[in-house]
Symmetry: D2
Subunit: 290 residues, 4 copies
């Protein structure tokens, strides 16, 4: 496929590389040109989003947040000005369900397609082609994108016919992880005050849950190793905020999400926005006087 790829952060670079390796014709655009050049000779570089998507079949965006997506899509030389009729904008960023609805509507209004396909995984998962892809959109269009999904991930889930449904799943999934992080923080704090080391509890939880996610995050917190950030706390806060907005749109209260919102906000107030989001667990220790 002819694929345009916009947004070459840690995640995006790995995904773009895997698309190239899978034999797709990839054109990339990134704000800083160095990251685009780092992809090597097999890739075409475009000066703007509009140029990058000029004759692609699918245009993948992998950006930090709603603001970045809006700029790339509707800004001067944005995607909407270049994407051929019938081609698909494949939104992999973790954005709000409200923005996903707007993207679906505005692309459709000018004859373009939109599919949301946020992914689960950290940078090393992306490198290993092991991302989980959650896609949603018109059945036929989603199907057309499957070569892209196969190139970047290990499994694809179809969440529904409305693109925003995939974003709702992604936000709820991140909520599940955040909830686990906070729970670890609370349990560790109490146990440290009971003079039980966090690593002992980590071992028990690793055996109990049998989950690499528990082992990895549990270890980060037990080791208090929050830098460098695999996923910055301020982004985790953004996702929690978006989960709450989705819950509000759906009129479905999520009290743990609200609690996470307040904890992450406290962490930001204390200057912890750039450490790994698992660092929010420090607050439980601080609140316990540790």
């Amino acid at each position: 496929m002819r694929v345009a790829f916009i947004g070459l952060g840690n995640m995006g670079s790995a995904m773009a590389r895997n698309l190239i390796e899978a034999g797709h014709e990839v054109t990339v655009h990134n704000r800083s040109r160095a990251k685009a050049e780092a992809l090597g000779p097999g890739v075409r570089l475009a000066e703007s989003p509009a140029e990058a998507v000029r004759d692609c079949e699918a245009a993948v965006t992998m950006l930090a947040d709603d603001t970045a997506v809006q700029e790339i899509v509707w800004g001067e030389s944005g995607i909407v000005r270049g994407l051929p009729g019938g081609s698909v904008h494949l939104g992999c960023s973790t954005i709000s369900t409200a923005l996903a609805r707007r993207l679906a509507a505005e692309h459709a209004a000018i004859g373009q397609k939109y599919v949301s396909a946020p992914v689960f995984g950290r940078p090393e998962t992306a490198v290993a082609k092991q991302l989980l892809v959650v896609a949603a959109g018109e059945g036929e269009t989603v199907k057309r994108c499957s070569p892209v999904f196969e190139a970047i991930g290990r499994q694809t889930f179809v969440a529904g016919k409305e693109p925003w449904q995939a974003n709702a799943v992604k936000l709820c999934g991140n909520f599940m992880i955040a909830s686990m992080i906070e729970s670890f923080g609370e349990a560790y704090a109490t146990l440290r005050k009971a003079e039980v080391g966090p690593h002992l509890f980590l071992d028990v939880m690793a055996a109990l849950f049998g989950s690499p996610v528990y082992s990895n995050y549990g270890r980060l917190i037990a080791d208090q190793k929050f830098e460098p950030a695999g996923f910055a706390l301020r982004l985790g806060f953004k996702d929690t905020r978006l989960a709450i907005e989705t819950a509000r749109e759906c009129a479905s209260p999520m009290p743990i999400a609200s609690l996470l919102h307040d904890r992450l906000l406290e962490a930001i107030a204390l200057g912890m926005g750039e450490i790994d989001w698992s660092g929010v667990a420090k607050l439980s220790a601080i609140h316990a006087g540790l």
Copy 2:
């Protein structure tokens, strides 16, 4: 070893049977005699706790709550009246850290030993000898109990020298599970209102966390199959209450535990005390108007 076993519920019966199969000399006592007889011919039956422990090396208790343990230990014909000096009371029940401290102190005062060794696992795990054992107490005494641990579980963790530390770990572990259940409930409710089926989300979470605990509980909630109860909600409430009491003793606030307390209490107020504790997830649906 000569082992006394008191408390033949679903968990206790399976554990006692595994002790017998491992070749230990087992004497049992249970309030209702039928469950004791069901263990078959290889086991001695005792009329009272005191008689059951008369010449044992270790006396295992596996009871529902603090009240039951107190009655069995200090009641008329209680364990303390029969346990030989130097023999160990091995408390496997999920009890309060306060009671564990009292047990340690009072057994010690009359020359008996006490080790806390609560276990993680549901009845089928107990049958399969796959329990996780968390033990705490004097190093030498804990070591002496290892034949018992090997007969009932797949792995043993030593939490510390004070018996109550094992109970703190057990309560925090159950807290981790309860927190996961509630998080599933909130995510499912929001997604149902977004017209995304819970089973789709379950599949994503199963792939993301790779944990049988997520798959099992996630399925129970997606299927809304809360009966028969694997673990009754009122017991889950009791454990959450005990976790909060431990957190209070340690001066370590656990806001998710408080939130779980209120949810489980609401479930009890609505008459759901006897269904599986994963049934607390129904409340998120109810609160969302589903």
Copy 3:
């Protein structure tokens, strides 16, 4: 003063009438003309916001929410197109701090003034000229508006030099009331299950706090008299959401506000959006199985 008044709901009509009675030259505009005509002969009617403010010294807006304000200000024939240079837009609506900042910036950019002056009080308070006014903006401009404040309220507080500061105070004030409502709900529910009538508790609280706000809201809840709504629950939800947004902008976690958000959202999910916001107290009773 020559005053334009836009937004003749229950609150706005009473405020406009008081301005007329105080001798100001008042021109009004309202979506539905009937409410404007109901003010009687002493008032000029304008066809559009732009026309209403054409030669006023101060233009008061008293509207339901951010969306309404944006339409009136920047819509076709909006205020910005008519307000004379140097004249003041006096925003009395309960809006977001973000919108207040935008109003300040955009009015300033075209030589107009903006002052936020949200008010505390229910319709009957407005009729009685007993509103509390919280104003913020440039000192000189705020001072110029004092004849307006005197005509509508019993006391004016100046919150700062930035208009949005007044909105922050207003949102925090409504938060204080919402918190009191929820607390009454929880206490009443527990006491009803203890077979203590809510009216007995109301009497004690009336004596303890000595506050008409406690007496009035406490009685509404004790009587379960939530219709007609003095202040619709969905507006209370909106204000709570705005308080949380302000808290987020300020990086200051407000856990009770988050809790109120979830309760009010639950009430909306259950179809209670149009009853009085004190009706959120019903949820505590429902959760207790009453």
Copy 4:
């Protein structure tokens, strides 16, 4: 009446003095004799609780917590050993509803009467005979105690026929105050970050609620004047814990109470147990990075 009075803290001393002034024959007992002597010549001193109540018609207890009450009532030389048949133990302490039930049952079993009559007010209120009394118990017995109530307070409320109902009301009342304190803390923190001074907000709230309780506590927090403690934070924590226990007995979730529990516990973990309970508001500022 012949009244025995046990517990001469700041509150108790003022109450005892008012009983003497009202012309009752008062016999007192206090752990430290100095406080008893400070009451002056018109009072009889007893060596023990049992002796103090020997021939009284009503025995008032005003003690710090459940433990103190249990010791005074059932300890060696406790009240139950001296109180004449038919005489009333009038419990004014803020104790658990569970202990109130036990007191009612055990006094009744030996032919003595028990009435719960906790009071609202701070030491200066007690001095001014302005306490609010909430009484519960058998109608006839409560009526018999009215000379005592009249001597110490400005108003008496009868909560029900079961003594513990009065304690439930008292605990819920303290919950209302704690909730107000926490709400002030959250609002002040957000407003300080918005550069609005707490005293401005205090003035608005004083005008809005018109309540001395708001004015007094709001000022303590705005001034950050938490010492000397009018009511120690650790006692406020105890009362919040008791409110949650009552809510649990009644199966009525109180999420704000849970939140208060965690805040107060955090304050205790940080070493703030002895300052005024309004000091819990500092946490909101700390969490906001102030």
